[in-house]
Amino acid sequence: MRPRFWAVAIVLIAVAAACLPFVPVTLPGVFDGPLNSAGTLNLLGLCFVFGALALTYDIVFGFTGLLSFGHALYFATGVYVTAIALARWHWSLPQALALTALVGFGLPLALGAVCLRVKDIPFAMVTLAFAEAGSILVLQDPWGLTGGEDGIALGGSVLPATLVGVANTSHLYWIATGLLVATCAIGWWAVQSPPGRVWQAIRENERRVAVLGLNPYSYKLASFTLSGFLAAAAGVAYLFLQGGANPQITTANFTLVLLVMVVLGGVGTLWGAVIGGIVYEYLDFRLVGFSNAAGVQSLPPILRVPLSEPLFILGVLFIVLVLFLPEGIGGLFRRLPGRRHGPS
């Protein structure tokens, strides 16, 4: 009975989200414009992309127990490979997407094969180092492809006309919604599948899985690759919504932000991670407005400086969550007996 209830609820939410561009309602205090304005749709689209991205990170971190600090690299792969193919090499959209799919699959497979030779915290450090190498490559721009600090702007002519311009924001929003629904479906299917159950067993006790005659390495690699591939897909949607690539998303700080999203929502639950990603992106956006508000600007410096730094507020919120609410937002809603618990 319960699974059917959830399936119906999720389909209803997805349909409601898809209809949003036709709802000219204003929610004062929540969004600046009406729900179907371009600004609101763009923000919501970004929220959905980060919800999907947080879910992909939860597959490796929450379900397989792999503390990867290099997830930004795979997201950035989706953003940059597509942007380079479109803007620099002037490929058509299907060609660019095919290349992105190839690289988005191959890169996490190859790097995961190396990184997974070590476990736990060394694994975290090594994934971080590879992501940093990617970030250096993007910023230094040795082959004149990534645009260094400036990033890549997708001009009007490189994308199909239906994806360009303020009037077509609803199309981009639908892409983001579709991405989130598809990522949720694949993620849910993957963690329910027999390999997905092995992932969770590895998270709980890897040695026991090995003793049972399964090879944890290949299962972990599968989880890492799937998650990296889905993150690259989220990167493509992000590129379309932003209209370009910026090097911020390649940095180590961005991976840490992803970690904050997942812990915010609740480690080890797919929907918790999605909510964490959406809430984080929304807060990040709104806190910028909050810090510029007249009330904050008139405070004495000792209060004004911390309050006008969104990352400071989010970092403190994160510490408080880890200390006092380790199961995140999701944990608040699932105080039901007999449910499994995430690692931490």
Binding site: V114, C115, V118, I121, M125, V126, L311, F312, F318, L323
Partner: protein, 294 residues
């Protein structure tokens, strides 16, 4: 020849900075199994503390001001680290991932706060005249700060080795690295050793923060993060928990980075270091010095 000497000394200086940050990481990991992401924040905050301490003493001799800055940086780094251990790490002893996560949050929040308070633009630091000058060795004009940084790292290395090999607390730390449960079973307060190790790590990172400001001539909020990542690489290459391994790897990484960034292209050196890390992991997963992980 002169270029090679210059690159050699500069690379050693860079390695010395990496070692100062990495030694704390390695000790903390070895004893407590905590990956301390806040080590970069200690570095940054101490750098600014040293800067403002030196600024607060106008009119006195430049050397006195600089030494006051070094002292302020070390004290700030140590105090910050002790507070972190007591307030954030200690409540989470049973949750190792939680410990890593709070240091991540602390690193993010501190970075944002420093940026908000002091701006993200680099600030010029004032140095004593001798330190801004150069010394010519084999025809290479080498900035004197390089020698200061290398000397300081050597002193810290010797001091740490002396502490670990010759003192009672060093013995407890070494025993704790080997088998933490056994040490506490023998009735020794490991908790105090944890705080001590954090204090040492924070002080070393604080020293690195002030010396890093002298080495680069400027301070900015973001250098701590790149230092932290280089230190991670150094610690893994050297072997987690081994001070000697960290020193060896720091020199290797610093030299490789300098030489390749000069002879190949800017950025190639940074990239090669990561490749070196991958090779070391494939050949010796436990690092150059250190046991393979079980």
């Amino acid at each position: 020849m002169s270029t090679i000497v210059l690159l050699l000394v500069t690379g050693l200086g860079l390695g010395a900075l990496y070692f100062l940050v990495a030694s704390g990481l390695s000790l903390i990991w070895g004893l407590m199994r905590v990956l301390n992401f806040a080590q970069g924040a200690f570095f940054t905050v101490a750098g600014y503390a040293g800067f403002f301490a030196a600024e607060a003493l106008p009119g006195t001799s430049p050397w006195l001001r600089w030494c006051a800055g070094v002292l302020a940086g070390m004290l700030t780094g140590g105090a910050f680290a002790i507070l972190t251990e007591v307030l954030l790490i200690r409540p989470l002893y049973r949750r190792p991932v939680g410990q890593v996560l709070v240091t991540v949050g602390l690193a993010l929040a501190t970075l944002a706060l420093v940026e908000g308070a002091f701006g993200s633009d680099p600030r010029q630091v004032t140095l004593p005249d001798w330190m801004s000058a150069t010394t010519t060795i084999f025809g290479a004009a080498i900035p004197n700060t390089r020698f200061v940084v290398i000397l300081a790292a050597l002193l810290v290395l010797l001091g740490l080795l002396f502490f670990l090999q010759r003192t009672r607390y060093g013995l407890i730390v070494r025993a704790g690295v080997e088998n933490r449960a056994m040490v506490s079973a023998l009735g020794i307060d490991v908790q105090r050793a944890f705080t001590l190790v954090f204090a040492i790590g924070g002080t070393a990172a604080g020293l690195a923060g002030v010396l890093g400001a002298a080495y680069y001539g400027t301070i900015d909020p973001s250098r701590g993060t790149s230092m932290l990542i280089s230190a991670f690489i150094v610690v893994v290459i050297g072997g987690l928990g081994s001070i000697g391994g960290s020193a060896l790897a720091a020199v290797l990484v610093g030299l490789l980075q300098q030489f390749l960034n000069f002879y190949a292209a800017a950025g190639v050196g940074d990239f090669a270091v990561v490749l070196l890390l991958a090779v070391v992991l494939l050949v010796r997963p436990g690092g150059l010095i250190g046991r393979a992980p079980e």
